[in-house]
């Protein structure tokens, strides 16, 4: 563990707006994914894959759709605020960049050998930067493909971009899959470095 300087201790590593948008996002994603699984079960894209009822939200298709199309406003509103504040405050540039393929591969290799330190929580390593940027892009894809599934007639350009209605469903599904995979690794890393959870609650 590296000693923290006084300024680092006093200034919040994760500003209040970031912590608020992070936890609203967590809640919105939880509702969207669990209600989305219930909707998926009504007509599975892959016959062999359905989600256990205990992990779904809404009770039935109609209920799940009510949850899904209620939480979508929370997700999109919060995601927009998160992105806008990240760009406006310069946090995105400061904390996610510079980033190169070389450093990502280097840090990933170090992590695999168990040699990637997590001591300084004020800086993201290259693998973290890459993962966080990837999940931001993925969220944008999930939202846009969801918009096509919901309103395929009203958004012809977006529909074409997703490769048509049926394809948009597949994009939406794989976008969700990446999100869930990120969530699993994210929570595992928090379990390994519990201080990061405190950091996302208290800011320091």
């Amino acid at each position: 563990m590296q000693p923290q300087t006084l300024t680092q201790t006093l200034r919040a590593v994760q500003p209040l707006w970031l912590r608020i948008t992070h936890w609203i996002n967590a809640l919105a994603i939880l509702i969207m994914v669990t209600s989305g699984w219930q909707i998926y079960n009504a007509s599975p894209i892959f016959k062999a894959l359905t989600f256990p009822a205990a992990l779904t939200l809404g009770g039935w298709l109609g209920g799940a759709i009510q949850w899904h199309f209620a939480a979508m406003w929370l997700l999109v509103g919060n995601f927009t605020a998160y992105l806008a504040l990240n760009v406006a405050t310069g946090r995105l540039r400061r904390r996610m960049f510079p980033l190169s393929i070389k450093t990502v591969l280097g840090d990933a290799y170090a992590a695999l050998r168990g040699k990637l330190g997590h001591g300084d929580l004020t800086h993201y390593n290259a693998v973290q930067k890459f993962a966080y940027l990837a999940v931001i892009v993925d969220l944008a894809i999930v939202i846009l493909s969801g918009l096509v599934v919901w309103k395929s007639v009203q958004f012809p350009l977006l529909r074409a971009l997703m490769g048509g209605y049926d394809n948009a469903r597949a994009v939406h599904f794989f976008g969700m899959s990446f999100l869930v995979a990120f969530f699993v690794v994210h929570v595992a890393m928090v379990a390994l470095v519990p201080r990061s959870l405190v950091l996302m609650i208290r800011g320091r």
């Binding site: 669990t34 007509s43 894209i45 298709l61 009510q66 959870l197």
Partner: protein, 257 residues
């Protein structure tokens, strides 16, 4: 030499503080673990949150807000995509709230369609009268609320023409449908007047078979499947919210695509 010689009063305080911190850390971890198990327990208890009355009321409110959002997004001049004959889904799936052997059989010789409510013109229609009107056909995608979709070919009369001949008040908010199988649904007026909204009498060039809604199905490629009623016997133009079979159970009313 005793330890006392090396530790001042201030140092001792710091040591105690550090020790206290160390003690706190496991307690915190335990708290974190408990929160996680509480969350897990809440998840396992399943859908209890969906049974709560206030939660349901809130969800219904947001669903009706979504009706307004969809009415705002709906562009009366935007057409749903159409497809070549080669892309028609064969066989086109049968879908209803009952099994295929319970499909109602309507007698065409005695059948009459009635238009009621805010209409000033022709109220009672026979099938021959509808067949005598200009016919159009479309190959469009039927999208089910469950997520699956299928492409089909429907032919019939533009619904806006029927409403015009019936002298319907097109400033009214809703058009409601009652069906021979006791199904019901209702739509907004802008969608009723959309160029691709057809009162269909044929499927794939043949008289509409019973399984697809004989004697007629209202086909709207701008709306989800459950908004497209089959076996229609009565149509009502009204300003009072009519609801519908699925809508009354919680499906979104606008159901647009």
């Amino acid at each position: 030499m005793s330890l006392k010689l090396f530790t001042s009063r201030a140092d001792a305080d710091l040591i105690v503080k550090d020790a206290a911190k160390e003690l706190k850390a496991p307690a915190r971890r335990l708290f974190g673990k408990r929160i996680l198990s509480l969350g897990g327990l809440a998840m396992l208890s399943g859908c209890s949150i969906s049974d709560d009355k206030s939660v349901n009321a809130m969800l219904r409110k947001i669903s009706s807000f979504n009706d307004d959002a969809q009415a705002f997004l709906f562009d009366p001049n935007k057409l749903a995509p159409t497809y070549p004959e080669s892309m028609i889904t064969r066989p086109f799936p049968f879908n209803a709230f009952y099994d295929i052997d319970e499909v109602p059989l309507v007698d065409p010789s005695t059948y009459k369609l009635t238009l009621g409510g805010l209409v000033k013109g022709k109220r009672v229609w026979t099938l021959d009268e509808l067949h005598a009107m200009p016919q159009e056909s479309q190959i469009t995608r039927h999208i089910c609320i469950e997520g699956w979709s299928a492409i089909g070919k429907w032919g019939g009369v533009r619904f806006a023409h029927v409403l015009a001949r019936a002298g319907a008040d097109t400033s009214a908010k809703y058009v409601a449908f009652h069906c021979a199988d006791n199904y019901s649904t209702s739509i907004d007026m802008p969608t009723a007047l959309h160029a691709q909204t057809l009162l269909t009498l044929t499927y794939d060039g043949q008289i509409l078979p019973a399984k697809y809604g004989f004697p007629m199905k209202l086909r709207m490629p701008t709306k989800l499947g459950y908004k497209n009623p089959k076996h229609i016997v009565a149509i009502t133009v009204t300003n009072e919210y009519p609801g519908g079979y699925w809508e009354n159970q919680g499906y979104n009313w606008f159901g647009g695509s």
